[in-house]
């Protein structure tokens, strides 16, 4: 079998790999060049994102790794949606690399980050189960090592939780993939083969089961309820930049993977019977995540735990438009996850700027009393990120993202789910406004001293805020990316 290759489309995933190899080679040749690894890593990530840019503006199909016609299937799709998610994942990883800080980032950190980024860039583009499964694990497994790498006992505990979760998730994904191949007789995720399988009742049941199992496996990675239990423990125990990675780039990769799985379903939407089991599974995930995540976040006083529960809630919001199973829903999920990733990164960067690299204790809400007054830069960025997450103007992009997310659901006729989303949105406002209220209060007596080495964190927070402000003024820049 010959594959038609177009290397340009593969570059977003290949450049980080190349950078990873280069880092290892340089480290073997010149182990004393400490700055080399982060610089090469940053170039690899930035370069990968740059090569994905043409996909954002390009029209026409961007398919590659195609088998010969007439039975031709393409295993790699570099369309606008894919490219957007690739750019988001790569740049989010770059931001995390900056948060780790260029002086502290060792070779291991850089290599693991690059591996995870290349996995993320590949999984969102893959269209066959083999590539999908391998690259998805490539995107997530290095993160476990990153959590455990730092020398804290709690971090090891967090890593163990994540490892256990990942094993269960991997098992489910393999099972789901096997069921899919059995059901459709086709290892690629295409609408045609699904539609063919859908006509036979037995195959239909098998495929539905396969998808539900795959969705459950992915729900672990997206930290959607009821597969979320690892999230608060791991995020609060691990190093802050890795928590930021889990909440941004990993989330983008997982959502991208879910979008790939759900894409074929558009071809069976109009059929009778429709894909009710899949919709029911998605609705359960979104409703449970939105409500449980928000209610739990309401009770937290430790900020990273609050952000962890908020990431659970936001996972529900990302899945919300996907319940419609339409192209508009997939685009909406991509827009929402990008907005969330940027806002989440800004929040994590601001938290790091406030507490510094050694953040174990006193990450309490009270440490933020009057931050806007004491520290306008970090405080302002954090305030903006919170408003975007809450979906309140002046964080207009957060509000637009919510509109984008609810719209496909309403037009698919699932308006009761939309009404649940209303409740979640309001509770979410309570969560973020609670923190916002602390920020704009009067500075307390015992405010922690301002950290010294925090240029990188402030830089990330500022760049992220600039993106949020720009997107708030011109939401089309972001909303238009994926169409």
């Amino acid at each position: 079998m010959t594959l038609e290759m177009s290397w340009g489309l593969l570059l977003p995933a290949l450049l980080p790999v190349a950078a990873m190899l280069l880092v290892l080679v340089v480290d073997a040749v010149a182990p004393r060049a400490r700055l080399a690894a982060p610089v090469i890593g940053a170039l690899g990530l930035g370069g990968g994102a740059a090569t994905a840019l043409p996909g954002l503006v390009g029209t026409g199909p961007r398919l590659t790794l195609c088998t010969p016609a007439p039975e031709g299937r393409c295993l790699w799709d570099g369309g606008p949606l894919t490219s957007t998610l690739q750019v988001a994942a790569l740049l989010a990883t770059l931001a995390v690399l900056a948060l780790v800080s260029i002086h502290r980032a060792g070779v291991i950190d850089v290599v693991l980050l690059l591996a995870s980024a290349s996995g993320a860039a590949a999984v969102v583009a893959s269209r066959d189960l083999g590539t999908w499964l391998v690259t998805l694990e490539l995107a997530t497994l290095p993160v476990i090592a990153l959590v455990a790498w730092r020398d804290r006992r709690a971090a090891a505990h967090g890593a163990l939780t994540l490892l256990t979760t990942s094993l269960v998730s991997f098992g489910l994904l393999v099972l789901g993939a096997a069921l899919w191949v059995t059901g459709t007789g086709d290892p690629t995720l295409t609408g045609d083969s699904l539609a063919t399988a859908w006509e036979v009742p037995e195959q239909r049941v098998l495929v539905s089961l396969a998808t539900v199992v795959l969705v459950a496996g992915l729900a672990f990675k997206m930290s959607a309820v009821p597969f979320h239990a690892w999230t608060p423990t791991t995020l609060a125990a691990g190093p802050l930049p890795v928590s930021a990675l889990l909440a941004s780039a990993s989330k983008v990769a997982a959502v991208g993977a879910l979008i790939v799985v759900l894409t074929p379903y558009e071809s069976v939407l109009g059929l009778s019977p429709g894909p009710h089991a899949v919709v029911a599974a998605l609705v359960t995930l979104t409703v449970a995540s939105m409500l449980v995540g928000t209610v739990m976040a309401l009770r937290q006083t430790e900020v990273v735990r609050l952000l962890a529960w908020s990431t659970v809630a936001q996972a529900g919001w990302v899945i919300l438009p996907l319940t419609a199973l339409t192209a508009a829903g997939r685009r909406a999920a991509a827009v929402y996850v990008v907005v969330y990733a940027v806002a989440g990164l800004v929040a994590f960067a601001a938290v790091r700027a406030v507490h510094g690299p050694h953040v174990e204790d006193r990450r309490d809400l009270t440490a933020y009393q009057g931050l806007l007054r004491r520290d306008p830069v970090a405080g302002g960025a954090l305030a903006l990120a919170l408003l975007v997450l809450a979906g309140l103007p002046p964080g207009v992009i957060g509000l637009v993202a919510k509109i984008v997310a609810i719209r496909p659901v309403v037009s698919a006729g699932l308006w009761p789910v939309a009404v649940v989303a209303v409740v979640a949105a309001v509770l979410g406002i309570a969560v973020y406004v609670r923190w916002f209220a602390v920020l704009i209060g009067e500075p307390g007596e015992d405010a922690p001293a301002r950290q010294r080495s925090r240029r990188a964190s402030v830089g990330v927070a500022l760049v992220g805020s600039a993106v949020l402000v720009l997107a708030s003024v011109l939401p089309q820049l972001l909303v238009g990316l994926v169409s």
Binding site: G380, L399, R407, S411, V422, A437, E442, Q476
Partner: protein
Amino acid sequence: MALILMLLVPGAVGLWLVTGGRGLDAHTARVVALVAATVGGLAAVVAAAMRPVVDRAWIPDLGVRWHFAIDGISAPLVVLTAVIGVLVVAHAWVEQPWTDTHLGLPRGSAATYLGALLLVETGALAAFAARDAVLFFIAFEVVLVPMWVLISRYGDPKSAAARADASARFILYTAVGSTLMLVGILLLVGQAGTADLDALPAAAGALGQGPQTLIAVLLTLGLAVKVPVFPLHTWLPAAHTTAPTAGSVLLAAVLLKLGTYGLVRLPLANVPDGFARIAPGLAIAGVVGILWGGLICLVERDLKRLIAFSSVAHMGFVVLGLASGSATGLQAALIGNIAHGVISALLFVIVGGLKHRWGSVDLAVVRPALREVSPRLGFALILGLAAGLGLPGLAGFWGEFLALVAAWEPAHHEGVLRTCAVIAAVGAALAAAYALRVARIVWVGDAVPDAATDDPVAGALDRIDTRTPDTRGVELAVLAVLVAAVVTIGVVPHTVLSVTAAAAEALVGGGR
């Protein structure tokens, strides 16, 4: 051009004041804010007269356009917002919430306070001028955070817990309402295929009874929180009691109007059949609000809360007018809206001033008669109360009178609405009773002495400090503008009615 100025100047200056300009000293900040409010206000008045149109693509993928224009229904509200916007900023010379030091705590900067006022004004103007349903929703949300800041940071200095409670209630109730409204708007826009408010009525006319009713229920429920309609009003008294005077004025005169305006603009204009179906429920809720508000006003001790509950009663009349479904009812709602905006602004300025002077406005505390110690303030209070009870010749009369007329001859559901009209008339009598109660206690100074023993400490303190300086300077000017508006609308209601008439006819006639 005027439209852009009207939104851009207060918006940009407001944003700058809450971010970069926070360090500005109080005096400069006030001047800057006043200039911005005046320029924005003048632009708004010009825009209301010239009716320009701004229409640009904003988010093409969502079909959302940057589409602003003013028509007969929004013009009076835009002018009202512009005037109130200038008045509340000017009021910063009278009352300075940022210097109220209770327990020695400083409270935020003057610039943030003024910036928040300007941002609320911008959001309201944008919402009134928006000609795109989704844009309307976004503008509707713009006012949330600044208003929340006004209540939670600059509200009643005595109790931080009360501020937190009132501000949280405000933002959460309003968010429930607006997000429900969003679902309704998305459903409407999705089914009709356009978000343009000009094209929507025609496009939505083809919808069946089921979808129309569902959309109308979602939109009406959402907006009813903002109005507020009876069982959903519980956020309002807390917010009014706690907010600084300027915040209360903005809340009553501008934000509540967003709710009624939205009811006219979205369910009434676009899904008239669905709205007519739920109209009896709305009318009953409105009438219950009239009675409930009136009865509470008869016993309420806190004067600010009392005015807030009277707002609930007045909005009951507006809702009743809307529910009648006739052009008269719509006219009644629109003029009642404007009248309530002016009257409640007047009353809140007075009561806020009294609270500032006395420390509290507990009616059970014996105080000297207002007519003796400060006759000008007393006169304004009496005028405001008289307008509030619907005395002919003042602003409040037309809204109530026309609402009753419309409810007596409704377009549908005659039995329910006639009954509602009768009960509402009884409610109007209640308004007279509580207005006289307030006048007797505050103006005549005829408080029941033994009630003061409930709170001996506060009573004693207040008795010692019995000086009530009369109004003068900026406060007098603010009051004079509002009094003039109350009288003008009362004597020549035609100024408002003629502007809204054509648009109202088109709305009610066009939907059928």
